[in-house]
Subunit: 413 residues, 2 copies
């Protein structure tokens, strides 16, 4: 187990990092609950967009999703990261992991079966209920005490099989599950085995289902020390050749050549060791930055949501104001509904808002028709002022805690 003692294994974040992350998440919860959520609930934001965020939504750790054909070393990779087995872990040459396992932090070891996990409000897996019993009996949460898991939740998955075994014998739609997790993941790691490289059709399907998530994907060409350097180059080239055909984006995916084992296999090659170590360090660095990036992304998402909710409140307040106080309410409501785009323009002018910040009038009208506009709350300056303060002071201050620039915000601008 000596590998974990040298610096090629992930370093747990320093106390400062840990404090910083916790501080940012706490700050975010506070800002959202005190300054943004009141505006959302006052102006029926939920009916037009999405329900208010819960604390566990904001607290949720970055998710790392592992995907690969069977025996590529997914479970071994997790053991390498944790420096120990997670509860209920299986490693072996045959297809071994037979379920989706969310490996999470907890002070004591325990396994929560899928059904129990999916109803637990503390866990971010309630969305899995819709996949029903067949899937939930193939899902579990494994909790263990690990500094690595303080920073991320890792999803171990069953290896992708070829042919009928994959398609019909599972009892649930593997690709749909992969899609669900990949939408929520912060990092998706595709594992390939340089020892036996063949991309089955089923694996291709799984990769295709990641469309739109390409920027989260990293590829590990694992067991790179099980072949000689020249062979490794052939395998690596062949993998990129095939991946280029499967993945539509012209941007090349970042690949890490590596071999993640906890006990060095006796028959491994040493001619690329330096390269592999450099690559592994790059990957571990990526993983260490995950939490920082996830925190930045969370701030960014809350900023977006606050802007959206603010415009929404201005629209609702405007409509309420246009309604007559006594007679002709129905007629006026119909007129407003019919001329929604013109009302939007009025609001834009009054508040100096760009048209691009406004929702699609057609879809807004559909939601709006379910409401009685007279029942809307009038615009309250103090509620708006609180969101303005969150946007102009609190959230930027939180962001400034990341001294090395904030890629997500840069990107957005």
């Amino acid at each position: 187990m000596s590998v974990f003692k040298n610096n090629s294994r992930p370093q747990t974040p320093t106390v400062r990092d840990g404090d910083q992350y916790a501080r940012v998440i706490n700050g975010l919860k506070h800002i959202y609950n005190s300054k943004i959520k009141p505006l959302e609930t006052t102006y029926n934001f939920e009916g037009f967009h999405s329900s208010p965020l819960t604390n566990s939504d904001i607290e949720a750790k970055p998710i790392v999703l592992l995907i690969g054909q069977y025996s590529t070393g997914k479970t071994t990779f997790i053991r390498y990261l944790l420096d120990k087995a997670y509860p209920g872990e299986h490693i072996g040459v045959e297809p071994t992991t037979d379920r989706f396992v969310a490996v999470m932090h907890n002070s004591e070891e325990r396994v929560i079966p899928g059904n129990a996990a999916a109803v637990n409000a503390e866990l971010p897996f309630r969305g899995l209920n819709k996949f029903g019993q067949a899937f939930l009996s193939r899902f579990q949460v494994s909790q263990t005490n690990s500094p690595v898991l303080e920073n991320m939740t890792i999803i171990d998955t069953p290896g992708i099989l070829a042919g009928d075994k994959q398609r019909t014998e599972r009892g649930y739609d593997f690709t749909q599950i992969i899609e669900w997790f990949s939408n929520r993941a912060d990092l998706i790691i595709l594992l390939f085995d340089s020892h036996k490289l063949d991309i089955s059709n089923e694996f291709k399907l799984a990769i295709n289902s990641l469309r739109g998530q390409e920027e989260k994907i990293r590829v590990i060409l694992n067991k790179s020390d099980m072949v000689s350097q020249q062979q490794l180059m052939r395998v690596y080239g062949a993998m990129m050749w095939s991946l280029g055909k499967v993945v539509q984006t012209p941007e090349v995916m970042r690949v890490y050549l590596g071999s993640f084992w906890t006990e060095k296999p006796p028959n491994c090659f040493e001619d690329c060791r330096e390269l592999l170590e450099a690559e592994q360090n790059d990957l571990l660095k990526d993983l260490r930055e995950l939490r920082r990036n996830a925190a930045i992304r969370k701030i960014n998402e809350i900023v977006k949501r606050a802007r959206l909710a603010r415009v929404h409140a201005l629209i609702i307040g405007h409509l309420k104001k246009e309604m007559p106080s006594m007679f002709g309410k129905n007629k006026k409501q119909e007129k407003l509904l019919a001329n929604l785009d013109k009302e939007f323009v009025k609001i834009q002018h009054k508040h100096h808002l760009p048209a691009g910040d406004f929702p699609n009038p057609e879809r807004f009208r559909q939601n709006l028709s379910l409401y009685n506009m007279d029942k809307f709350k009038p615009l309250k300056e103090d509620i708006i002022a609180r969101v303005d303060e969150a946007l102009s002071v609190d959230l930027p201050r939180l962001m400034s805690e990341f001294p090395q620039g904030n890629p997500m915000l840069d990107e957005q601008q």
Copy 2:
């Protein structure tokens, strides 16, 4: 120039190899001229297929075609192979090679301009006449005394430029020329520069025009020592990713990571030297085997041609025999033309021939209608016997001079 003295440079074939190749080519010329060509000329093979082979067709050396964007090191690669500059060679950082250059063996140095080269019956370039003056003024043959060139002719090409420079300013259709050479080449080498990798649209077009020739293509990722090992992996991966998208075949092209220079650049990296040398040796081995493979392919082509000509002679002889000796010749000719497929079946039964060996009746009829069947020569047993002997005795004996199996024939069966 020390690199040429160590064993990483191409070894000239041993005298035994040279003798064997010359012996095979001489044997082939003899068999073709004495046993196959008489049958072709007696039964108008030329009018239905192609004109008889000349000695220089059979003697023509394997052609190696180099293709790549400008400054990828094509001309430098030739200098590396020859251990000297060819007459009229230019190497430089700007686009330098401004014409197609056929680098060939000759006891004395000389440059033959394109127009003169294309009318020279000794040279295999008469087909280039059809591209006219604009191209021929951008073509030349450079001859020099080199043991390497005793085994192959190398085609240096102008670097592919991006955008208008490539498309309109050349005055001739670059892609068509590439197509012409690639059809005749035994090996097509695509050169990439790991120092600046971007596949221009024009390069993509050139690669697309090689469709159908994929198995001849080898890729060199050149200047691989101008980047560090980790960078090289990125560049190599990116190249395979893009190539996989451009090239339709699922089979991965063979890539050689290498750096072909005659004087080691001062700033190059050494961390992959061993790998690069192993790769270069593999490529040079491929080049050394070119002549052997080309000889095997030539035998194979002559076998194919002889079979085709034999069936052709049987058809012509049969038609002649069906013609009446006195009256009703026109009517009979028309009837034979109309029922050509039935006549084919008769010939198949009589001579125990598979239907697949027969030409397309429709196309055969078109050619046939230009002839007066009465003027055809009757089948002569001795001419057929000679071809039979070539097919059953002479050509197999020639083939057996290659002890290590004959991939081309295996493939055909």
